[in-house]
């Protein structure tokens, strides 16, 4: 499988993001091919989450453009991007705490529920029941896949951390996105939970056919499961390539060892 030959599913051209005087991102260009697991790594504050937020629509880049499946989405509204096929999870868990696990996942299907308001009110209208069943089937498939059957009816906010992370992944999967953005899917997990999560990510990539753009700090996991890796440091992309290539890169070593790298760091920032 040669991933780089296909047209990119996500292409970021010279993305810059500024908050007043703070430069969160400086001319970052990346392209993710369909079917890839693409990881972004970098020290804290390197701009990883800012980049993902630009893709998901939470932030609007100061300059540059973002293409998703060839379509310019730079100024597209967040909810439209979700409907267009970009799902995401959040670094700090963002489940709807008072809702059940099932309800959380059903929210993820919002844009797929065709049933309009009045037909929905009437319940029997426009094959509502058949539609509901079909959606429930899809949701159950995701629930089975992530092995959260036993907490289906539980209130999301009361679950232990590792399970909540899985429910959040389930909710993002329920959108049936073609590109899924995972912001630190393994943060705060123990070894066993990390292994499980790594397996889920591999499976959702291979079996469910979702392209994965992931931010993760655990180098072991990143190097094991990613097809390609990009390294951000001080808001700039300093290296892109297969895990082996990136690991061998001099800039990367310096960024991670904390040495001042003249080619990268802002002069007298």
């Amino acid at each position: 499988m040669n991933l780089r030959e296909a047209a990119p599913i996500l292409q970021a051209d010279n993305i810059s993001l500024r908050f007043g005087g703070v430069r969160a991102l400086t001319e970052v260009s990346l392209s993710v091919s369909p079917g890839e697991i693409f990881s972004i790594i970098g020290p804290n504050g390197a701009g990883k989450t800012s980049f993902v937020n630009c893709v998901s629509g939470r932030y609007s880049p100061t300059s540059g453009r973002i293409l998703f499946e060839g379509q310019d989405i730079t100024r597209m509204r967040t909810n439209r991007r979700a409907a267009a096929g970009i799902g995401r999870t959040f670094q700090n868990l963002a489940l709807f705490g008072h809702m059940t696990v099932l309800e959380n996942i059903m929210v993820g299907r919002h844009h797929l529920l065709k049933r309009n308001f009045l037909a929905g009110m009437a319940w029997w209208g426009a094959g509502a029941e058949a539609e509901e069943l079909r959606h429930r089937e899809e949701v159950e498939k995701i629930i089975d896949f992530l092995e959260i059957q036993h907490v289906r009816k539980a209130i999301a906010g009361q679950l232990p951390y590792g399970l909540r992370k899985r429910v959040e992944l389930a909710r993002a999967m329920a959108l049936q996105p073609r590109l899924i953005l995972l912001d630190e899917p393994m943060a705060g997990m123990n070894l066993e939970e990390k292994e499980d999560m790594a397996r889920y990510i591999l499976d959702l990539n291979e079996e469910w056919g979702m392209t994965v753009l992931m931010i993760e700090h655990d180098m072991g996991v990143v190097m094991d499961i990613s097809h390609r890796v990009a390294v951000l440091d001080f808001g700039r992309c300093i290296a892109t390539g297969t895990p082996e290539v990136v690991m061998a890169n001099e800039h990367v070593k310096r960024a991670y060892l904390g040495e001042v790298d003249e080619a990268v760091a802002e002069p007298a920032a």
Binding site: R77, N79, G87, A94, M99, V107, H111, F117
Partner: protein
């Protein structure tokens, strides 16, 4: 104890309380979706009642048609209000939006007086029977209609929030707008919907009260009565709003009874809910079902 006085008062309290509950629900709906305390809720009742009155008396429509038209009108009214006045305020501090609702309240209060005058106008008679017999009590049929409508609206709310796509979207938006957006939910649409439903439901209550008491600007006082109800129930709880409404309604009538039997102050019923409001705020500031905001320092 004078049971012949107390029982009808309690029944009256329950029916009026259910109506408070309905208004309180539509108040909570806006608060839940957008954290806005809507001081123009009472004016929604007022506008709805006047519009329906206009359809029935000026256009001579039958009640069901006038009622239906009013509901359509008020839905559009809510959407337009949200789009024109409140949508530009998205992202502004909530207090600015709340001030805007106070302005809206004053505006519609004055507009209704300007168009329809300052005197109370009765609705044309809707039911042939003046009173019907319910378990030995004489009740106005419109009260029964009111109770039925309240129950239907409450059922519809329960269904809407737990089983419908848009209800779920609304709960998600109430929890976290950013996250809701990233799941494909259009937040401006959810806000417009919450205002539309709120205006619609309030106007139904407005029409019912108007049929009983006639339409006048006093109707908007219901918007104030809602405060003890929602504070008691918890600002963000729909179930709490219903119970709070019923409790306030019964409380009012109990106060009426106590007043008539023993105290002879006069008009105690009008202020009793507000004494209750103060007590609730002292004892249980988040209400019976409200979300407790836990602040960690």
């Amino acid at each position: 104890m004078d049971w012949n006085l107390l029982l009808p008062l309690l029944l009256n309290g329950f029916i009026v309380g259910a109506l408070y509950g309905v208004v309180a629900m539509s108040f909570v709906l806006i608060y839940k979706a957008s954290q806005v305390v809507n001081f123009a809720q009472g004016e929604f009742l007022l506008v709805g009642a006047w519009v329906c009155w206009y359809f029935l008396t000026e256009w001579q429509l039958p009640f069901w048609a006038g009622f239906l038209f009013t509901m359509v009108f008020m839905t559009l009214f809510g959407i337009i209000l949200q789009v024109v006045v409140l949508r530009p305020l998205i992202g502004e501090p909530v207090i600015s939006v709340i001030m805007a609702t106070i302005g809206l309240g004053i505006f519609f209060q004055a507009l209704m007086k300007w168009i329809f005058g300052v005197f109370a106008r009765p609705f044309p008679p809707i039911f042939a029977a003046e009173r019907v017999d319910l378990l030995g009590l004489q009740v106005q049929p419109v009260y029964l209609l009111s109770l039925a409508i309240s129950v239907v609206i409450m059922g519809a709310f329960a269904w809407f929030f737990t089983a419908s796509k848009h209800g779920l979207a609304m709960r998600a938006t109430a929890f976290d707008q950013q996250v809701a957006q990233s799941l494909g939910i259009s937040v401006p649409k959810v806000f417009a919907m919450s205002w539309a439903i709120s205006a619609l439901v309030s106007s139904v209550a407005g029409v019912v009260v108007g049929v009983v008491n006639g339409v006048s600007s006093a109707l908007s006082f219901y918007g104030i009565k809602v405060f003890p109800a929602v504070i008691l129930g918890g600002l963000d709880s729909v179930v709490g709003a219903v119970l709070g409404g019923i409790i306030v309604g019964v409380l009012e009538n109990l106060a009426q009874y106590v007043d008539a039997e023993w105290l002879h102050i006069g008009n105690l019923y009008a202020i009793a809910p507000f004494y209750a409001l103060i007590l609730i705020l002292l004892i249980k500031p988040y209400g019976l079902f409200g979300t407790k905001n836990i602040e960690r320092v």
